[in-house]
């Protein structure tokens, strides 16, 4: 699993993953914060339902899709975590109509 190498630096922010409060470090991306929290999978695929998690960390692979503050299919590696953010797993394809 993932461990922080310099656990002392940076302030703390709190966000919600699947409704549970998670502590992260200020400046973490949502993907980094979720991995540091010990989760590996953040979504299931629309095609087969197989679990997927953050992989490339640079906005290319689209494996880290999550729902953030009600907006589906956001790339967790491209969004910096913010206090009170509501992050949910992206289960399969999003709904089309609101």
């Amino acid at each position: 699993m993932f461990e922080r190498t310099d656990a002392g630096a940076g302030g703390q922010v709190g966000f919600f993953f699947e409704g549970s409060r998670v502590e992260a470090r200020a400046g973490d991306t949502v993907a980094a914060a979720i991995l540091a929290h010990g989760e590996r999978s953040v979504r299931t695929t629309p095609a087969s339902g197989a679990p997927r998690g953050p992989f490339c960390f640079m906005g290319t692979c689209f494996e880290c899709l999550v729902e953030i503050d009600g907006v589906p299919n956001r790339q967790a590696c491209m969004v910096v975590v913010a206090e009170g953010m509501d992050v949910r797993r992206q289960e399969g394809a999003r709904e089309a109509t609101p």
């Binding site: 629309p46 095609a47 299919n73 394809a93 999003r94 089309a96 109509t97 609101p98």
Partner: protein, 370 residues
């Protein structure tokens, strides 16, 4: 020198469908493909199998298109059984949305003109009012006043279709040569000698299915092929759960859940760049049609070149000066794939195009002095 019954020039949807059909007739076939430098209309296709409005003013085209649509269900099944690759074909019917009374009247007039083309059964296209459209697509925007609907319309995955055709070809007597741009075609006894990719191929017949490349290749075998590019741009969204139960002529949801929007037409030469002007217009029209699309993200866009004849109808012809040399041209590689594989290919195998294709020769472009 390698010898084949038929050499097909072009490995896109047109060439692959004809080659697959010829291989099913028992012919040995070589497909010579230019490579990834080619314009690749088949990779940029929207994926409609579309009947309504095709052939208004050219009954032979209406009948040929309808024949392909009638062949498609069996053709898709055959391809899936043959290769394990289903082209994701669905035939739920299709809608052409109208936003004004004038548009509805124009569609009604078109239906009236085409009424007798398809015989006693008619072609089945009819006008739906807003309420009827809402029953089919509940999420339409307030500006949609009605639609024309045809039960013969459908859609498929152009990429899966292309893969399936190539797989079916490879399984039989077909040989595919990538990066083999054809340099020269010459008569050779009763057949043809074709130079491509530094090799020489020999074939009893040759079929030109090279899209925009047919203009230059046709001239080598006495065929006049006045095709030109017509650019189209497409937008694709992220995947969503199934929401559109049937395609429209400009918006469709794929099997995987992405929503495609398209149908721009630009006379831009060989330029294949996508541009913000047309992209905005496509997106704005899509959002006017289905307002919820505004919240769905676009993840890709591209442009591709349609292969257009002067009147937009297909061009099928066997050369008079070089018998055995055929040319196949159209901008509807998906719609006509069924007819190309199961009706046109058997004609080519027999060495003569059928009477039903006599309206599609280049003679119709000749200017008559009196």
């Amino acid at each position: 020198m390698r010898r084949y019954d038929t050499i097909v020039v072009g490995g896109g949807l047109v060439g692959a469908a004809v080659a697959y059909g010829l291989a099913r007739e028992g012919e040995s076939v070589a497909v010579l493909d230019e490579g990834d430098v080619a314009f690749r209309a088949s990779r940029g296709n929207f994926g409609l199998v579309w009947v309504q409005s095709k052939g208004d003013g050219r009954p032979e085209y209406a009948r040929w298109t309808r024949r392909s649509s009638d062949l498609w269900p069996g053709f898709a099944e055959l391809l899936a059984e043959d290769t394990g690759i289903a082209p994701d074909y669905h035939k739920p019917g299709g809608l052409h949305f109208c936003f004004s009374e004038a548009e509805i009247e124009a569609r009604r007039a078109m239906i009236h003109r085409m009424h007798n083309v398809h015989g006693p059964g008619g072609d089945g296209t009819r006008i739906l009012d807003r309420k009827e459209v809402q029953d089919l697509v509940p999420s339409i925007g307030p500006d949609v006043l009605g639609a024309s609907y045809s039960p013969h319309d459908g859609h498929a995955s152009p990429l899966r279709l292309l893969r399936g055709l190539h797989a079916g070809l490879a399984k039989r007597t077909g040989a595919y040569f990538a990066d083999h741009r054809v340099q020269r075609i010459e008569k050779d006894g009763g057949g043809f000698r074709v130079e491509a990719g530094g090799e020489t191929f020999s074939g009893g017949k040759v079929v030109l299915a090279a899209g925009l490349g047919n203009r230059e290749l046709g001239a080598q075998v006495g065929l006049d092929v006045p095709v030109r590019p017509l650019k189209g741009q497409i937008l694709v969204t992220e995947r969503t759960k199934p929401v559109l139960t049937m395609p429209t002529h400009v918006i469709r949801q794929t099997e995987e859940g992405t929503i495609m929007m398209g149908d721009s037409q630009e006379d831009a030469g060989f330029d294949t760049r996508s541009g913000t002007g047309v992209i905005s217009a496509i997106a704005a029209h899509a959002v006017r049609t289905l307002p919820w699309l505004a919240t769905v993200r676009v993840v890709r866009s591209w442009a591709a070149l349609r292969v257009m004849t002067p009147d937009g109808y297909p061009l099928y012809e066997q050369s008079e000066s070089h018998p055995g040399a055929f040319t196949v041209n159209c901008h509807s590689g998906v719609t006509l794939a069924g007819a190309h594989a199961q009706a046109l290919a058997p004609m080519i195998a027999l060495g003569a195009l059928g009477e039903e294709l006599s309206a599609f020769t280049s003679g119709r472009f000749d200017v008559r002095a009196n």
